[in-house]
Symmetry: C2
Subunit: 513 residues, 2 copies
């Protein structure tokens, strides 16, 4: 068994059964080894940002890591933005980054670069395999590191001769450490604050976005009057009829400040103290009111859901969570706008959908329109690096082939990782992309005002305009093998959305808003 | 004057007059400042790999840096692969990477990441501006660092509050250090070796690829019998009728070993000692014959061309260079193949063309077919990070609007930075892309054999196949506003190539080979 074969066998043994790959020469023995380990499914991406974003989407839905296969430092670089999002989502991901043979590195060949420096910026786990006999154990450690609560990006650097060398040993899975339980002392202290009668907000993140956490949050809120909030960009938020509908802290600092207005205590459960996404001249970074105290029930590496349930048992025994009733908006008609398209989605969202949301400015009305839709998972832009949506949807669809995946993408974000459409077509994934096309970096038009840039004139505005030439996403999608259509009215969007959901495989709707 | 204004004024004063930009919120004051400094031309890219590759292409042709404008760490990450190529090309590039406001960094907001670590991997120059009053001086230093012979990537990190802060001071240009001259002692020692009569190869790189260096190389070779070679992947090689036609060291180690067969001395001028691009099991990394001595006439940071001219004066006084005669291949006919398409280009290449070459396996016959074509510049894949071709052509066309730019791209490399086509359309750049479409990662099929991967079966081969579904680059290009056509015969390619050159603005030809 060579190093590559031992690596893949070890990954499969540890539950890593999908590898999103964009290989090069130094990865050819890994590629060849795929034929000897049929339990590993390899999914080809034609750009590394697709590969890493798909691994993120897969991990968020499957709850266990996919592997990536990347080609030296530049391949890792191309995948870095979506790994940044995965880092912020705390998604378990195992990167395998091929490198030159150990003895070849000294020659500084053209593709040589500092892989450790780039991988290290992800603040996860990084190791370079030194010998074929050790790569199995390295891989087992990588998976354990990736899976250690709350999840992280692990990067294993695989020199070509370690991959092709003989003496590989497949290693059994290494159990990841369990999350630390929060002490009853902490739970009781927080309970005391909630019982004080002083206005409080309870800001939850990470695994609290799943049903058990949401139910505990809702119970606590109902019993104590504390305001429950979910972090602005959750990795995975369960929503819809039959689940507690808990609002997210707003992206716009102006709105978030209002949500927290009058609060004397901010209690954190797997979330960070609320700060604005960017700084703005003359505005505070911290969003909680001045003088408000911030308390931590659970850090993200604690058992966040367990802590919330303990707190609920303490302050809300006998109180039931408040669940969203089934409710869909009326189906709109007439020209498609940034306001009415969300009602089409809200009216038609299928049961069990996974929604990958990068609609940005076009999507601000989406939460209200889908709050009473059938139960669904919402995946958001955790790290702020746009170009996440299409790859994330791709990976989610690989993880959950029986669920409809809806990608809500915007024109300003689409081209970063547009090649994801090809992978969707190749794998015949059930992804319906609604591409909100407003022919602008609309969010930057807003931000240009928000940052108080006074002197902006035609040359600045030119940089935020995508209408010269217009992007025709129908042609782009068809060029990558994805059937596509354009919608200019709400009726057309509804009609095309219905057809896309009814047919297997990917579809794209270029929605002019 | 705020920091951003002083930065842009300083850049313009130092000869940096183009900024390839993909801005976000933290860059909004830079964007706004563009209206107050009309001498700076901003060119929008819809993905950072387009922006950085365009800056590389611009720098290679203009001989001075363009700026890039990138959005925090993820933006730099997306641009990293083409910055890696720029680093290997020794292209002067000035990155401006926006970051959170200085006081906002402590909050670890979603887009926070270790920008210095990623920028540092480029082994160039990195600085973080601390105050608005200093950003002008920082920018002047950045340009000087980028321009210091032989050229490098300089990265200036610009916190948002440094950008919007008052008190900016525009600073005059800082002269970059001149290259070190090679001593006459070294020149004479190398001359001695060349006169010894022992077989020698003279491997030149960097600025030796321009006319003066090539003429000196050719004179030395003609007078001494030494074999002249150009490095495998030159940043910019002047070629064609009237210039010395000096062959490049081959990419395939098997061929390169043949080129160097029997050589007792390898003399380096601005090039590294020849090593294989990748390591292969059981094959040496070093390409020179065992026992051959390697001597250095000039390191890359020396005055390489001056050293070659001194050496030519020493050993080849009175010897003229051997110049390629005008000679074009016959125009082929019939179905288009990987063999005959190069003759179409050779037969029709216009005077003064700039050729951005990423044709990979499809392009191995190109050098012979174009050796006697009218004079042109060839830009190659210096760092091995594919996805360079289209952005490089974009930047080259911005630098030389009056010259025809020919991008020779392959399907396996095209999707990394396909958004470059949109920028070409927006700026109406005279770029003709010939997209060699063989529906495969053909080079990897070859490499899979070359690395001796024995067990490769259907699952491995599946990862190298791009035909399911076929990519339709006509639709993709049209979707981005670039007129496009498909060629399946040599006659169609010739016809479409002629029309593309005759019409202003970009065109794409999807060439089925």
């Amino acid at each position: 068994m060579n190093g590559a074969q031992s690596l893949i066998r070890t990954l499969v043994g540890a539950g890593v059964e999908v590898c999103f790959a964009n290989p090069g020469t130094s990865e050819m023995h890994f590629v060849a080894a795929l034929d000897s380990v049929p339990e590993m499914r390899a999914v080809l991406g034609l750009f590394e940002g697709v590969v890493t974003g798909a691994a993120d989407g897969y991990g968020r839905i499957a709850g266990r890591p996919a592997a990536t296969l990347l080609h030296l430092g530049p391949g890792l670089g191309n995948g870095l933005a979506n790994l940044h999002n995965a880092r912020r989502a705390h998604t378990p991901v195992v990167n395998v980054v091929g490198d030159h043979a150990t003895y070849h590195k000294q020659y500084d060949a053209p593709l040589e670069s500092d892989i450790e420096a780039v991988a290290g910026s992800l603040e996860g786990w990084v190791r370079r395999s030194a010998r074929a006999a050790e790569v199995g154990a390295d891989a087992a450690d990588a998976v354990a590191a990736a899976r250690a609560h709350p999840g992280r990006v692990a990067t294993l650097i695989l020199p070509a001769d370690v991959s092709w060398g003989d003496g590989g040993v497949a290693v059994g899975p290494v159990p990841p450490p369990a999350p630390t339980a929060v002490s009853q002392t902490t739970v009781k202290a927080i309970a005391e604050i909630l019982r004080s009668g002083e206005p409080a907000a309870l800001l939850a993140g990470g695994p609290a976005g799943r049903e058990a956490g949401l139910r505990a949050l809702s119970r606590i809120a109902a019993a104590t009057g504390a305001k429950p909030l979910i972090e602005t960009f959750p990795a995975r938020l369960e929503r819809g009829a039959g689940l507690p509908a808990i609002e997210r802290l707003a992206y716009l600092a102006e709105q978030a400040t209002q949500q927290l207005d009058g609060v004397a205590h901010v209690i954190l459960a797997g979330a960070k103290a609320p700060v604005s996404f960017f700084a703005y001249p003359g505005k505070p970074s911290v969003l909680a009111p001045e003088g408000a105290q911030v308390h931590t029930l659970a850090e993200l590496d604690h058992d966040v859901v367990g802590a919330l349930e303990s707190l609920a048992d303490e302050v809300a025994a006998g109180t039931e969570p408040q669940l969203a009733p089934p409710r869909r908006p009326a189906r709109p008609s007439g020209p498609l706008t940034a306001q009415n398209w969300v009602d089409v989605i809200g009216a038609m969202l299928p049961e069990g959908a996974i929604v990958s949301d990068e609609a940005n400015t076009s999507g601000w009305l989406l939460p209200a329109a889908t709050a009473g839709a059938p139960r669904h998972d919402l995946l958001t832009l955790t790290g702020g690096a746009i170009g996440q949506c299409l790859p994330l949807a791709t990976g989610a669809a690989v993880a959950a082939p029986d669920r409809p995946v809806i990608a809500l993408e915007s024109d300003g974000s689409a081209l970063y990782t547009i090649a994801a459409l090809w992978t969707q077509a190749r794998e015949q994934l059930n992804v319906t992309t609604v591409l909100l096309n407003n022919r602008a970096y609309a969010i930057l038009r807003l931000e240009l005002q928000r940052v108080g840039a006074q002197s902006s004139g035609p040359r600045a505005n030119e940089l935020l305009d995508l209408s010269r030439p217009d992007l025709d996403f129908v042609k782009i999608a068809e060029g990558m093998g994805v059937p596509a259509a354009r919608a200019t009215t709400a009726e057309e969007l509804a009609d095309q959305f219905r057809r896309a959901l009814a047919e297997p495989g990917p579809h794209l709707i270029d929605a002019a808003v």
